[in-house]
């Protein structure tokens, strides 16, 4: 069973998507560790370490995601993390922005998959495809 750590990053309290993600992932057969809203990046990484997770699925809804992304590379290097797949989704910019502009940017921060305003099920299908290609 693949393990996913999920939650909403930073000072962000939009909880509805988080609940949906938890339920949808379980329905798809993932083991879910849900850290809920208001989760720091360090907590995400730490949870992945403690659970030996395969996927780290971060949500950000309030538009502040970019602010803390620079820490990602640093934190990733702090631990000898195994092959964790980093995924981010939600509203990844303030105001109008295109997925095609945002994806390369977030990938350069260290994310493997980026879903700006992408419907959840479409995104989860994509994650499953990515994971099965990897293995």
């Amino acid at each position: 069973m693949m393990k996913v750590v999920t939650g909403v990053v930073g000072n962000d309290i939009h909880v509805v998507a988080n609940r949906l993600i938890d339920i949808s992932l379980q329905a798809r057969g993932f083991e879910v560790f849900n850290l809920g809203v208001n989760t720091s990046l360090e907590e995400f990484i730490d949870a992945a370490v403690e659970t030996d997770a395969d996927i780290l699925l971060i949500s950000s809804l309030n538009g502040e995601a970019e602010g803390w992304c620079r820490d990602l590379q640093f934190l990733r290097s702090e631990y000898a993390l195994k092959d964790v797949t980093f995924v981010i989704g939600g509203n990844l910019a303030v105001g109008e922005a295109k997925q095609s502009d945002l994806a390369p940017k977030y990938k350069s921060y260290g994310f493997d998959l980026v879903f700006h305003q992408v419907d959840l099920n479409t995104g989860l299908d994509e994650i499953e495809r990515y994971m099965s290609e990897r293995s």
């Binding site: 360090e42 949870a47 659970t51 631990y79």
Partner: protein, 400 residues
């Protein structure tokens, strides 16, 4: 039948009979037994051994070093449990950094090793064993993933393995580790050579004073004008203790309900005066605070009655500060929810109500930005300790 209650502290001894409480300064040239017999021999002779109850807070405190896999889970959970068991954390080691971590110079009473949820393995390896080779410790306990317990038990002599403190859902599981640490602490305090001699005076088990105080908390509201949630601050000669109800901790840590205790080992007004002054001088509010109390910094160097009162006021301030949001490294209590502050210990013999009120008022105004303060209750005659002692009496068997 009347009883004799005795509390052996680091600085003085309290003796409580039906007729009232008396206290005596400790004579450090003598061991505790001789000291007690010299001062109170005639009192002891009036009571049967069965009616004498002793508790001790002298030289209390165990030290721990925690080695954990991550800051947010392993180390955070273990630190929390250690704090709540009254153990002093001398250092923490993040496992990924263990090769660069320094070794504690002193003998560590208990090393705690933790990491990973059950089900994952190979978290710990030779790096842990190498590190342990270089430190001195009396006990070592493992509370991480059960998969690694076998490997570690094989290589670490006398390793105590308990249930994982991290649940499969990444929540905290306090139970076993807390009990283990509390028992170690209890065994340490009453196992001290000079405390052991006191069994010549009593037929009852000797407890640690904080344990006794903690036992009385559930009955405090029946005996005092106390509204929940409350804290009890016990300022003594060598340490300061704070007991608090769980309602005051809104951590994302889910734990059992009840009361917990923090000990600030070197925040006492007599035996650890230097550390107290040092802590005070490094506090950002201290000059404002001294000005507010109409004294200057020089008072801290003085040996006067006035200086002692100021130090006691400072220690109230520092303890509240340590558990406030301004000091996030420590357990954070939601002091804005606090209804009552109860003060007990030597401090109630020195400070008057107005002095306590003044310092708490300053704290709430400056640190919390709140103009009303919790209700203050002063336990002038050690009633909290008496309740806890009396409550102890018939239940436990002497187990030492």
């Amino acid at each position: 039948m009347s009883k004799l209650l005795i509390d052996v502290g680091s600085t003085y001894v309290k003796v409580c009979q039906k007729s009232g409480i008396s206290q005596y300064f400790r004579d450090f040239k003598k061991d505790i037994y001789d000291d007690l017999v010299t001062k109170c021999g005639d009192i002891f002779s009036k009571y049967a051994k069965e009616d004498i109850f002793i508790c001790s807070s002298a030289n209390g405190g165990l030290s721990t070093l925690i080695i954990g896999l991550t800051n947010s889970f392993s180390l955070k959970f273990a630190q929390n449990i250690a704090f709540n068991s009254g153990i002093n954390i001398i250092d923490t080691v993040l496992y990924s950094k263990i090769e660069e971590s320094k070794y504690p110079a002193e003998l560590v009473d208990v090393v705690i090793v933790v990491g990973g949820i059950d089900g994952i393995g190979n978290v710990f390896d030779k790096r842990l064993l190498d590190y342990l080779q270089n430190i001195r410790y009396s006990n070592i306990v493992y509370v991480g993933t059960s998969q690694d317990a076998g490997f570690l038990s094989m290589h670490i002599p006398a390793l105590k393995v308990l249930g994982n403190i991290i649940t499969p859902k990444l929540h905290i599981n306090e139970g076993e580790l807390k009990e283990y640490l509390t028992n170690l602490y209890q065994a340490d305090i009453v196992g001290k050579e000079d405390i052991k001699h006191l069994y010549a005076l009593t037929a009852n088990q000797i407890y640690s004073t904080p344990y006794v105080v903690n036992r009385s908390l559930s009955q405090i509201d029946a005996n005092f004008d106390v509204v929940n949630p409350f804290i009890v601050i016990d300022i003594g000669g060598a340490t300061t203790d704070i007991h608090y109800s769980h309602d005051l901790v809104r951590d994302n840590i889910v734990s059992e309900s009840g009361y917990d205790r923090l000990v600030f080992k070197k925040l006492g007004v007599y035996k650890s005066r230097e550390t107290l002054i040092f802590a005070a001088k490094n506090n950002e509010f201290v000059y404002e605070l001294l000005a507010y109390l109409h004294v200057t910094e020089n008072i801290l160097e003085e040996e006067s009655e006035k200086a002692l009162r100021i130090l006691m006021q400072l220690s109230i301030f520092l303890v509240l500060y340590k558990v406030s949001r301004l000091n996030p490294q420590y357990v954070t209590l939601h002091l804005e929810l606090l209804e009552t502050i109860v003060l007990t210990g030597g401090i109630t013999k020195v400070l008057v109500f107005e002095e306590v009120e003044a310092i708490i008022g300053f704290f709430y105004k400056k640190v919390m930005n709140i103009h009303s303060i919790p209700n203050i209750v002063m336990d002038f005659d050690y009633a909290i300790w008496t309740i806890g002692m009396e409550d102890n009496e018939p239940k436990e068997q002497k187990c030492l």
